[in-house]
């Protein structure tokens, strides 16, 4: 089985593409840059498809399939191989990352066509693919961590792609520094795992966990530390603040990194470490609570945002919250399922938003849009499909995954009514703000100068990825369809070897009951309710939202300003830090201690030199006297040593 034995090819392809474009791309024409960038990712996708085809033929006892390529570091008992593995969870991630990544590369050729630094953009994008694949393919925590940090680096580079714009450069730094806080916990977690299991290899850890009982306290600590990393990377409360700012980057980047792939790395990591989490109920509860609160909280912020990308950013934070809620209540496969469908519909939403922005010549404020439905029909229809998907309207992808999560929160082994209620309320708000976005952007009267703005549909390279993703936003959820008609859930069954021990088998129900239950469930109801409210407020009575905002001014202001979280962080953390840095670290430590040591030693040398140079009198006889004194001194010393040596 060739490619399974050479999984590194999957990594090498995008890395090569990145290197070629990064080193030589400056002199390439756009066509060459395009073919290198898209070619490398498309080949990686084909290689991934081939790997999956070979993978499904493997006998069950050879899964996960691990390929060890070389020993990376050895220090006493610490041994790390450069090893890649593929199992069912990896297969899902691999398909999502390479396929969505490829579509977004294609889309970018249209979106970025008029931008400077074209080759640089694609070099970064390919580099991101390399690190993301390292993250999902890594067979031990260290290789995974390399990918984990690497995608963070690429995120930083791409958010700050327009680095001459201060807000973009700042947003890049904010993303990097905020995730670093989480990564600190993650790193400590890795050390604790090594201290506990004497290994960082996934399979070794899980086997040793199954063989020897580890105290629950240690496991809880490990899991919470790991989850801290996930909080940073996947933008959960309280470290979510970087993701909305990350919208400063080009829109394809928002779609690829900050919606479909990188931000889901935290969910992937928690799912990957599920044997640990499942033995630490307190950590599970923490994951679920953080997820549910984030899902609800950031959805409320989405209501009042006016920037089309900011709405989607808060929506992403909220949807990631659902994924963590799923993991926290033990429904890992539902979480990964939502990860997958979310990659489709949220990637699509961002790309469609990018298409809208492209059509409006860079305008992102929804208050200045309106009536775009007829002018950019492909964008409109695809975005509508994605919105129906995220709102959880039956038949669309998001419905299946969100329903599975809320179902697990309501009836699963770790069910919790409050978490379920938060999730359902969040779903209502999600549906509302998403349809608000659609109605504000595409319906009503145009609120821009139609003579000035040349609204135009995007080129083929952008609309084709939109249509492919729209297709997946509908049918991507049907992997789980058989459950509705009484069969087993394909997706859950496929992932069972990874999560099997952690998840309870679904109870068999009769087909008609299940269908009825599913169609009449709360998520469907609140999804439709959100649609109706948005429809009433923004189509029937467009004057009403303003009046409502007037009548609830304090609440509206609070939400409009995102609960002032950035300001609070600025006041509580950034300002004291700046004060300490300026007044202690700069003026005292740097200028006083460090500069003092350097200047002091120079001063000392000058002072001693001034005294010692008096010996250099220029008087030959005084030199001769010094020589004499030296000789006599040495002779006496030698004699003394000789005499004491003899006796």
């Amino acid at each position: 089985m060739p490619i399974l034995d050479h999984l590194w090819i999957l990594l090498a392809l995008p890395l090569l593409g990145s290197a070629i474009n990064g080193l030589f791309g400056k002199n390439f024409s756009k066509t060459v840059v395009n073919s290198v960038a898209i070619g490398s990712v498309a080949l990686a996708f084909l290689a991934a498809v081939e790997a999956v085809r070979e993978f499904v033929q493997l006998p069950a006892d050879q899964i996960p399939h691990v390929g060890t390529y070389f020993t990376w570091m050895v220090a006493g008992p610490f041994h790390v191989d450069f090893a890649l593995q593929i199992d069912q969870l990896t297969v899902v991630m691999l398909m999502v990352v390479t396929f969505v990544g490829m579509l977004i590369h294609i889309y970018s050729t249209g979106y970025m066509a008029h931008e400077g630094g074209y080759y640089r953009f694609f070099s970064y994008l390919n580099l991101f693919m390399f690190f993301m694949l390292t993250l999902v393919l890594g067979a031990n925590l260290i290789v995974m961590f390399v990918g984990w940090e690497g995608v963070g680096l690429c995120s930083y580079l791409l958010i700050g792609f327009w680095f001459l714009k201060k807000s973009a450069a700042d947003a890049g730094k904010k993303a990097f520094i905020t995730t670093r806080i989480g990564d600190f916990g993650f790193t400590v977690g890795l050390l604790l795992i090594f201290a506990t299991f004497r290994s960082l290899d996934f399979q070794t850890i899980f086997k040793s966990l199954a063989a020897n009982p580890v105290s629950e306290g240690v496991l809880t600590t490990i899991c919470i530390l790991l989850f801290t990393g996930a909080i940073g990377k996947s933008a959960q409360l309280p470290l979510y603040v970087w993701l909305p700012d990350a919208m400063e980057g080009p829109t394809p980047v928002s779609a690829l990194i900050h919606a479909a792939t990188m931000v889901t790395a935290g969910v992937y990591m928690v799912a990957r470490m599920n044997p640990l989490f499942s033995r630490a109920p307190i950590a599970m509860l923490v994951v679920a609570i953080v997820g549910a609160i984030t899902a609800f909280y950031s959805a409320t912020i989405g209501i009042a945002q006016t920037d089309i990308k900011k709405v989607l950013a808060y929506s992403t934070v909220s949807q990631l919250g659902y994924m963590f809620l799923a993991c926290g209540v033990g429904a890992y496969s539902a979480g990964i399922f939502h990860l997958m469908t979310h990659a489709f519909f949220k990637g699509l939403l961002f790309l469609a938003a990018g298409s809208v922005i492209h059509a409006m010549d860079g305008e992102q404020d929804m208050r200045k849009m309106g009536g775009l439905r007829k002018k950019i029909p492909i964008t409109f229809w695809t975005m509508l499909i994605a919105t129906l998907a995220i709102a959880g309207i039956p038949g669309f992808a998001g419905y299946f995954s969100k329903d599975a999560i809320l179902e697990a929160a309501a009836t699963g082994p770790h069910a919790n009514f409050i978490l379920w209620l938060l999730g359902v309320t969040g779903a209502l708000i999600t549906s509302f703000y998403m349809f608000r976005l659609i109605f504000l952007t595409f319906f009503g009267e145009p609120r821009f100068d139609e003579h000035k703005a040349h609204v135009h549909e995007s080129p083929r390279s952008m609309t084709v990825p939109l249509m492919v993703l729209a297709f997946l936003s509908i049918f991507g959820g049907w992997f789980a369809l058989p459950k509705m008609i009484g069969g087993a859930n394909y997706f859950e069954r496929f992932l069972a070897p990874v999560f099997g021990a952690a998840e309870a088998p679904p109870e068999p129900t009769s087909p008609s009951d299940a269908l009825l239950h599913a169609l009449l469930s709360w998520p469907v109801f609140v999804g439709l309710l959100g649609l109706l409210i948005a429809c009433y407020l923004y189509l029937k009575r467009p004057d009403l939202p303003k009046k409502l905002a007037q009548s609830m001014r304090p609440l509206y202001t609070l939400i409009f300003n995102k609960y002032y979280v950035d300001e609070i962080y600025g006041f509580l953390i950034v300002r004291p830090l700046l004060w300490i840095s300026t007044n202690v670290l700069w003026h005292v430590v740097d200028e006083g201690v460090i500069d003092g040591v350097v200047n002091g030693s120079a001063h000392l040398a000058r002072l001693s030199g001034r005294q010692v140079r008096r010996l250099q009198s220029g008087n030959t006889r005084s030199y001769a006297s010094w020589v004499l004194i030296g000789v006599v001194g040495f002779t006496v010393l030698l004699l003394a040593l000789f005499v004491t040596g003899v006796h």
Partner: protein, 102 residues
């Protein structure tokens, strides 16, 4: 025939060396200083010869020849320098050769 003990030679050598050192430090004339160096070298030669004789070995004598050769070379170079100094400075006093200081 009585044999002069080696300690006598050594004492003479030490006295000659000490005279050389004292002359080197206290004299001002370069030529005299030069001569005191020769005196010290020959004091050392005397000690070498005395030891060679006492131990009945040739090594000390070989050393003496080396010292004489080196001293001859040194005298050639040194006297050339002295002539240059005398021409440039119109003086042979070391007191006046004090430019190599800070």
């Amino acid at each position: 025939m009585s044999v002069v003990p080696v300690s006598y030679y050594l004492a003479l050598s030490a006295v000659l060396f000490g005279l050389g050192v004292i002359a080197f430090v206290f004299k001002r004339n370069i030529i005299t200083i030069f001569m005191s160096i020769e005196l010290m070298l020959n004091a050392v030669n005397l000690a070498f010869v005395a030891f060679a004789r006492a131990h009945n070995q040739l090594d000390g004598l070989v050393f003496v020849f080396f010292v004489i050769v080196v001293a001859a070379a040194e005298a050639a170079v040194g006297l050339a320098i002295v002539i240059m100094i005398a021409q440039n400075r119109q003086s042979l006093s070391v007191e006046r050769m004090n430019l190599l200081k800070f």
